[in-house]
Every structure is written in C-alpha cells, then in structure tokens.
Amino acid sequence: MSTIRIYPAMPKKVYVYATCLVDTFSPDSGLDAIRLLERTGVEVVYVPKQSCCGQPAYSSGYDDDARTTALSQMALFPEPWPVIVLSGSCGGMMHHHYRRLFAGSEHEQSVNEFCDRVFELTEFLVHVCRLRLEDKGPATSVVLHTSCAARREMNVHVTARQLLGQLEQVELREQDYESECCGFGGTFSVRHPAISEAMVQDKTRHLCETRAEQLISADWGCLLNINGALEYQGQPLRGMHLASFLLSRLEEKHA
C-alpha cells in the first residue's frame, strides 16, 4: 500500500492528532510529541475536541459508524496545515482508509485532500522538519517495535529507525521476527484472544531476548498490548513512546 510521498516544505503551523489511546493512557507522550515538534520551530495547534479516528468501527465492519466518526474528526481540522498523527495505525486509517471509506461519495474530494495532509510523527520529523538530534543522554540500549500499519501502510518504520540512529549514545538492538505483528489488531485481540495471546507471547519473548534496557514504539495500540503482556509476565522491560524517548535524550537534565 505504501507509495512514495512528496513531502511539503516546512510549514508554519501543524495540527497534532494525538489519538484516543494517547489521550487516555499516555497523555505525557502527547505533550512530549508536541514539545518535540515545537523545538523544530513549528507552531503546534492542538484541537481539544478531537477524539478517535474511527478505526475500531471500521476494522469491525461498521463502515457507516466509522464514516460518522471520520467526518466529525475531519471537520475539526479545517486549515490546510499538516495533521501530525502520533501513531502509525491511526495515521494509516486517516491517510489511506478514509479514502476508501468515502470513495465515490460526495465527500470524496475533500476527504482525499484531508488524507494528503496526514503524516505520522516520525515521517514528518524526518522528511519535513529534517530534524537533527543531539544526544545528551547517558549510554543505553533500546529495541524498537513498529506497528504493522506504520510498517506496511505508512512505510515509517524506516523513519523511526532513522531518528533513533541519530542518537550517539543509544544502541539499537535487533529482535527476531521484528516485522511480525504483536497480536493487538484492535478488536482482533478480543475476538480471537487465544491467537492474539500466542502472538504477543512470542513478541515479548523476542523483545526480552535482546536484553535492551528500553522498548520504544511510536504506537500506543501496540504498547498497550505489549506492555500489558510484559507486566503480566513480570518482565522488567517496558515500552515508551518514541516521542518521549527522543525528547528525554535532548534535555540536559537526563544527562
């Protein structure tokens, strides 16, 4: 699905789409992402009325309900500024699947224009902000997990790695089966719990085997799943949002 994107020049203002999971479970990641964006000189506009991209309804087969949600969200971002999404899978929903949901409808054109403005955080930081990171943190090791949508719909697993690769004191460890799904898949984990369990157990095992100090991901859906499993197993490893990790490396206080 991933096609080559043409990136715009650095804008003056951007919207941030934090996603419902960041809003509810990890608001600090949202704040950190906003601060990180602000350090690049862009003005960040946070629309407090935003809620969820509609992906749960869409992936359950309820297209009409997903459309209701999608239309309400798109209406909140009327200015032609980029919409920066803090998750590959919500980014995939808003960049790709909105097009499919509204294909052939009266909204088709305006929806496509909106979809063109949607960027996942790391791709925006790399390709538009051309962010250069100066690592001020102590030496550490991390392992990266990218969501399937980040990888296959948005092609941004590359940009997440690029950002981590800029940090001189951070050793990026490789896990076995890196590209394999963690087993979340939204309602999949509830509809098919046994299969999901097998998947997340394998994923956590491979992550722990790297003996990295920190797990990093730019997707709170995966982290909800993986962190929950790690905690259940009593593992010390925990995942944090990439934005929070990057920001922590730039600030002297952690050095």
């Binding site: 009409d64 399937c148 087993g183 299969i195 097998a198």
Partner: protein, 472 residues
C-alpha cells in the same frame, strides 16, 4: 478428523495447545520465508515480476467469460473434452461418469486443491473408485486420513518422526527409519506400482491457456507427469479463474509462482498438456478431459473489488508469512484453502454464514498483502467481508451468499454508540473524564484481554486536560 470453519475458535485453540504442531509450523514457515527472500534478493526485480504478474491476472480476469469460451473451443480442437461444473456435486458426477464408462476402479491423482474442494476422493470412494494421492505430501496426508494443511506443502504439519510412524502403520514391509531419503523412496515405490495399474490419472491445472488450449502443470516430483501420461485416461480439473489469455502470459506467472511458493526460479517439472496421444505417438493418455469448476467463483467475479480474490495463483506465500497461520496451521481453518487467501476465497465457496469467523481472524497486519505476487489486497478484502458479514449489501453490489449472517444487534449498538461518542466532543470528554477519574475502579480482570496481560490503566489526566493547563 473433519474440521469446519464454524468451529474455528475451538480448532484454533486445539492447535495452539499442540506444542509439536506449533514447532513444525514455525520451522517450516521460517524455511519457506527464507527461500522466498533468497529468490527475490533484488527488490527491483521483485517489483517488476509482481507488476507483470498482477497486470496479467487483472487483464485475464477482465475478459474471463470470453477467455473461457476461447479455451473451450481450442481445447476441443486439440481433442480435449471440456466439461462445465457449477458446483462440487456436478464436478464429481462428471468424474464418476468418465471413470465408470471405462470400467475404472483406480485413479491416481497429482496434487490438486480443486479436487480437495469438491472432496473428490470421498465422492469416488462412494462409487467404489479408489483415488490414490501421488504427491508425496498428499500421500502422507491421505494415509493419515487427513486433509492438506497447506496448499503447496500438504503435509507440512508433520515432522519426519510422524511420517515414519504413519509408514510403519500403513506400508507393509517398511523398516522404521528417520532417514528422509528412505522415507521418500518408500512412498515412491508404492506409487510407481500404482501409476502402472491405474485406469485414470487426475490432475489439477496451474494455468489454462485460452490462445492454444493448453493445460500447464507446475510440479517438482514428476508425479504430475506420471498421472497425466501413464494411465489411458487423464482428467484435469480447474477453477474457472485459472485461464490465461496467451501462452506468453505463462512464463511471468510461472516465475512469480515458483519464487513465491518454494523460492525456486523454476520447478523440476513443467508440463504442458495440449491433447491426447496422437496417432503414431508412443505415449500419453488416449483421452483427456478438462473439468471447469465454478463453485462460487462467479460470485466473486461479479463484484469488481472481490474479483481481485481470483487473481490468486495459489503460491501459498500469504500463508507462509501470516502470523495467524504460522501459529495455528491449516487444519484449524476447516477450509480447503487456509490462511489469508482462504479467508477471502472461502466465503465465496461456502457462504459467509459458515465462514464468518475467518475474516475477523486477522490482525490486519498486512504481511499477506506485502508478499502476494499478484498483489491481491487481502487486508482490504478482509475488511470488505467483515462489512458484508455484518450489514446489508452496499446498493449496486452483487449479492453474496450469507451477507449479514454475522449481524448482531448488540454489536451494532456498540458501534453506533462508539460513533456517537467519538463524534460528540461532550460525550467523549465525559467518557474519558470518567475513565481517568475512576481508573482505580477498573477491574483487574477484563475478559479475554487479561488472560495474558494486565488490565490497561488510564492516566490520571487526559491530554486534553494537560493541554488546557499548559495553555493557561
């Protein structure tokens, strides 16, 4: 052992609990993934091969009815007798008629998933005809009275110890060994004798060429060649979607197929069957029949989006890369075609009533679409099927068997509420406010989620609240 898609959940749980089965699958899938990766070492070449394969399949499907007619007339001109079957019963009746008209009692069969689809062996048995599988994997599966668990590697769920046990039980004179070469030789010796004595040879078809009336058969063991040349009568069966327009369409598809399936650049055998034995020829069958099976394919064909399902060239790469298939194996699906392709084709063959759990049994990770050599958008089609299983058909689309079969008022209510809450900021604010304020009241047990994870804990304040404070 007869699994059904209706019992998918239970079958999946049984498979997951079987450590040996899981190890067999993981090992086999790792092997096949590596083979494919080596065969597609060059990304540009891979893109070119997939571009061509996709374009050929789409072109051929776009003129499927005409190509089928052309195939029929060219086959007839070559001396091949063509039969049309709308469903499994009709196809089996055609087989019975042909075999019985020759007084036949033994058929040898090369690997054919379509013959599994119509349960040919079973149907022939009822008529007193033995249908012996001659592909090594199929032979093993048949000995174990099982069905194939993979479309390319039918016995991939078994390791050599399990095969040796089967041979000990069923092959007279077999001396127990774990030596793979000896195991293969054992099977071969049994089969050689059967080719010689069989009345009829049965095969599938990988590509049926409309332009020339040629049936192409891709294989590695030579059993396909034996089945289609040694017995006096050869009956080939294929789904109607396997037709291609030109002979020149075959090499690109062949290349895409073998690289994706087994990581081979070419296979050991590639058979082109263009008719029965001619006068003065020394070998080949005296009669060749072709059975063209619909069995739900025209339903997929009628819908432009679903039609992409029929692009499939049966390489099995989607299975090999699917995290779900890798863990539960093929039998758990209870369908002839398992894995991602099975999830999108089975609803057409069996109806959505029977198969409604299959399209949901995917995390939509996209690994299947990423490797499909003909670029079937499997995740999108799964999405579409989920929709069709829940709701009335989209106006203007062709009806599908079992549409709305999985509709549930309770679930519809949940998603209507979801849409309401997410589209009304006041409601969403209230909900997240409650979730964060009463987070300590969230129970530790949250149904299926907490069977392997702790319950998720909302933060003390939502981002919206933190931002409001920040902007003060």
């Amino acid at each position: 052992m007869h699994n059904r898609p209706q019992h998918f959940h239970a079958q999946a749980e049984t498979a997951l609990a079987n450590a040996e089965l899981r190890a067999n699958f993981r090992g086999a899938m790792d092997y096949l993934r590596d083979k494919r990766k080596t065969a597609f070492a060059d990304a540009d070449e891979e893109r070119t091969i997939r571009d061509r394969a996709e374009a050929i399949r789409q072109r051929c499907l776009s003129k499927l009815p005409e190509l089928l007619e052309q195939l029929e007339s060219n086959c007839i001109a070559n001396g091949i007798r063509v039969h049309w079957a709308e469903n499994a019963d009709q196809a089996n009746a055609i087989f019975t008629d042909i075999i019985q008209s020759h007084g036949g009692t033994l058929a040898v069969k090369g690997k054919s998933m379509v013959s599994e689809e119509i349960e040919l062996n079973h149907a022939m048995e009822k008529e007193g005809i033995t249908c012996l599988e001659s592909d090594m994997g199929e032979y093993i599966v048949q000995l174990g009275q099982e069905t194939p668990s993979h479309i390319i590697m039918p016995a991939i769920h078994k390791n050599k110890r399990q095969v040796a046990e089967l041979f000990t039980e069923h092959v007279p004179g077999f001396q127990h060994t774990l030596d793979v070469d000896t195991l293969i030789q054992t099977g071969r010796n049994v089969l050689r004798e059967k080719y010689r004595t069989a009345d009829v040879g049965v095969s599938g078809v990988n590509f049926a060429v409309a332009e020339t009336g040629t049936l192409c058969l891709v294989e590695n063991e030579g059993n396909g060649r034996m089945c289609t040349t040694v017995p006096e009568v050869h009956i080939a069966i294929t789904g109607i979607e396997k037709v291609v327009e030109f002979l020149a369409d075959v090499p690109p598809l062949f290349s895409a197929l073998t690289r994706s399936a087994t990581g081979q650049l070419v296979t050991t055998y590639f058979n082109m069957i263009s008719g029965p034995r001619k006068e003065n020829e020394l070998d080949g069958p005296k009669e060749v029949h072709l059975v063209l099976l619909d069995n739900g394919r025209s339903q997929a064909f009628a819908d432009e989006e679903m039609r992409k399902t029929l692009q499939c060239i049966r390489c099995g790469a989607c299975m090999n890369h699917c995290p779900v298939y890798t863990r539960i194996g093929g039998h758990a699906y209870g369908t002839v075609y398992p894995g991602p392709i099975g999830k999108i084709i089975s609803p057409h063959l069996m109806g959505l009533e029977a198969t409604q759990d299959l399209p949901t049994a995917s995390s939509l990770c996209g690994a299947c679409g990423e490797v499909c050599p003909v670029r079937i958008p499997i995740p999108e089609l799964l999405q579409r099927l989920r929709h069709e299983a829940k709701q009335d058909p989209k106006p203007g689309t062709a009806p599908m068997r079992g549409q709305k079969a999985a509709a549930s008022n309770a679930e519809a209510f949940v998603w209507r509420s979801f849409a309401l809450i997410t589209s009304r900021p006041v409601l969403y604010r209230m909900l997240t406010w409650c979730a964060t304020r009463f987070r300590r009241l969230i129970p530790n047990k949250l149904g299926p989620w907490t069977r392997c994870r702790t319950a998720p804990k909302p933060a003390a304040r939502t981002l919206r609240e933190l931002m409001a404070e920040r902007n003060k």
